[in-house]
Symmetry: C3
Subunit: 347 residues, 3 copies
């Protein structure tokens, strides 16, 4: 599918600098694009590729326009313009209605006539599948679970019983939704399982990454609000609530009963301990461990970035001595005579 | 199912404060409970909800009894009492014996007449399934694997060949047991695979979380002892041994040949390097990296909790300078004159 | 299968110290081996078991030969010798050609006559399966994906559409290859999905661990080069490139567009942020967070190993005060008089 550059500008609201009749046939990164391609500059790290790009047009911020050797779509948010153009040029194929003969569909399951149930998919009793939903190969939809319209389970997704998923949700392979929370009571050194009687509710327009796991609640539900985006290999424990439009990168773990606000971002590998309250618009850097509630928006960090191994060994040794260092410093402060600005009366 | 409060007290051994004939119909958290519900207070963070609860009865420690507006079940371990009541009121459904017609069962597999083999499940040659075992939809039980009585594989679980699983084990979706260990020998810069000839043995009353992986041993078996509880997304490498009644929270990784003692707890995100020996009753805080053996019980930690990003940037810069800081401190100690109690002979 | 020790020496290039006609029937670790077994010493931690071993032969470095109570195969790389002997004595069974009747194979899929398609496996349109490939139970091979000769998908593996996998690749259960990258553009606080139009290319002789996830590229492909070894539960984001013969341990996350060089090693739990360039022969310790590019080979670390909880609490408090500590030290330096070697002119 080809598009006039002027039409792409109109479709996205970007400002056109160049020939509105230039035809665009494809998308590519700056360094690989050729004639007929549109490209984009959204991360300064790739600015070095701009001058030599062979793209016919580039989406960029106005601060880079002077360096652009091609036609341009100028925007404050080039990545969003790129997303809209990619979506226009490569739209997702509509769902083909029907049921593969190898699918196993319980008699009591209710499947909308416009939904697709793929090969080897299994729908247990009372499962409900909405209009234009796509249940991919090998997916299991547990007893009583409901899936909203236009939602897609890509492949080998497992929904346990009584899970509710909204509309236009996209669930990637290997994700597990509604597994038991890790509820254990200790009885004299042995663990007794606490029945997990809640479930999981997922809003609209949510994306759930490959091999991500979301546990069902103990009594109340685990809740993922509208527009939340979860990357791969994330663990969401029982009774967690993730507020609308929060984005969570891969390998994050959120412990039980913690509530995360709206529009937060958790970078890769973040860990959040249980029973916390995180306000709206809080941002955590990669691999940060969150051990207390955060009532205010802000950006928080807590990792120790890579150092050369020898320097790191010394730093760790010094960290272990910090208490002793403090004592030495105090002795010096006591014994080293007056200090300007601190004990001026003694001068 | 409804219960007299007096019967619940007797069933759990809790002390009743209130009307033994009060009828209990449901369970809920303090802030959502209504008449007819029993609730519980096991974490001080939720004490704030006690005074206003509408529950008919609350399970709690005696220190909170004075604040309780309802009947009470008093116990030193309210969470355990809650677990027993939840189990009584919402018992797990018994396994329905049989085989779904879509299951693929090798001729040489031995399946107890009381077991259930679900839709799309696959039992390879010589698999053995015990009484009342539940093999959920999409599960694969590899060649020669054995599953004990009352054990449940929820859905889409994969057991590789020759894995042995005990009784009353619960395995959540997406778990993989018996995959090859990561055994590699280096041959001039290229990696040569080391065959993984051991297997995995799992005791009784073990729980294994969603998408958790347990590798088979290289020569000996990987061993999970009785009563171990593993949360979601845990990685257990080859030849690890996890001692009885140890509980491991989500996102933990345990490297090869490490032995963990009994009744240990590993909080979320802990990493344990290989070839270590961890004693019984050792506890690790969230995201701690364990780099040496621990011969004694205790509580160990090693993370850097979240700070405001600007403060963190400064702290990291200072950590990188600690060696220099030490040198500066030494110079001061040398040159700043006598210090009380340290070099008194020089005074 | 039994082997003469002399033949094992010749097969592996190790130097024989002992009886070339001794027969070897099995492999075991030093502490469990008995007569007829060969064992090995590749990690000094197990040296303590050498003297009392009952093995008939031991593979070891010459520095341990004097302590060896049995015949020996002497090598600079005992683990490699062990790998070759294990492979010789316990060769992988050849693939049995055919298709299980429960497999679902699209009419347009091309399956080599020598490949095996297991029970419940699903091949979508235009999938291509090479000679002697093994598609295990429950695997999904998406539309247009290609699998090279002698490649094995063990069980419940998911390949999304248009993924290319080379020869002799081994993919463990639950792995997901070709899921959408986490591409999101922000539109006034809401996230807009960026279509992921690239795919994944995997070279020859790659191993991919259980529940590992590899996302497809946004425009270009995510690339795993020849001989790369990935352990379990690793996350590889879109457009990452991992160079040949790099080994990545479990629970590592690599963020988008990062390029890792050849022959690198990433220990367990490492996190690498996006858009970095890591040179060849770079090594990262367990749980290290990599936040910048590395242009030179080397060994880098960045974690805070476990300490007793009380010592750790104090260390963290001191770390939070480091800025203040610095100010105190500066005041001392200013006010404490001349310091030898620093300001000698003032003495």
């Amino acid at each position: 599918m080809s598009y006039r550059l002027g039409d792409l500008a109109r479709h996205t609201g970007a400002r056109l600098e160049g020939d509105p009749d230039r035809m665009i046939h494809g998308l590519n990164v700056l360094q690989a694009a050729g004639p007929g391609d549109i490209s984009f500059l959204a991360n300064r790290k790739y600015r070095k590729y701009l001058k030599a790009t062979r793209a016919s047009a580039v989406i960029l911020g106005r601060e880079f326009l002077a360096e652009c050797p091609a036609d341009a779509l100028v925007s404050d948010n080039p990545y969003l313009v790129f997303a809209r153009i990619a979506d226009l040029m490569f739209p997702q194929a509509p769902v083909h209605a029907g049921r593969h003969p190898s699918a196993v569909i319980a008699d009591s399951a209710q499947v909308d006539a416009g939904a697709w149930i793929g090969p080897g998919a299994i729908l247990e009793d009372d499962a409900r599948i909405g209009p234009r939903a796509y249940i991919g190969p090998g997916c299991v939809v547990g007893r009583g679970s409901r899936i909203g319209e236009d939602t897609r389970l890509v492949a080998n997704v497992t929904l346990c019983h009584d899970v509710r998923i909204g509309r236009r949700v996209l669930v990637h392979p290997g994700a597990v939704i509604g597994s038991d929370g890790f509820g254990l009571a200790n009885d004299g050194g042995m663990w007794v399982k606490v029945p997990q009687l809640g479930s999981v509710r997922i809003g609209d327009d949510v994306e759930i990454g490959a091999n991500t796991t979301i546990d069902r609640g103990a009594l109340k539900d685990t809740v993922i609000e509208d527009g939340v985006k979860l990357d791969n290999q994330i663990q969401v424990a029982h009774n967690v609530l993730i507020g609308a439009h929060t984005a969570v990168a891969a390998c994050v773990g959120i412990a039980g009963s913690t509530r995360i606000g709206q529009r937060c971002t958790l970078a890769g590998g973040v860990g959040v301990v249980g029973h916390l309250e995180i306000a709206d618009d809080v941002h955590f850097s990669a691999q940060t461990l969150v051990t207390r509630s955060h009532a205010q928006p802000g950006h928080f960090s807590g990792n120790l970035p890579a150092m050369p191994n020898r320097a790191w060994r010394k730093a760790i040794a010094r960290i272990r001595q910090l208490e002793e260092t403090e004592q030495r410093l105090r002795r010096l402060e006591k014994g080293a005579g007056p200090q300007p600005g601190e004990r001026p009366d003694e001068e």
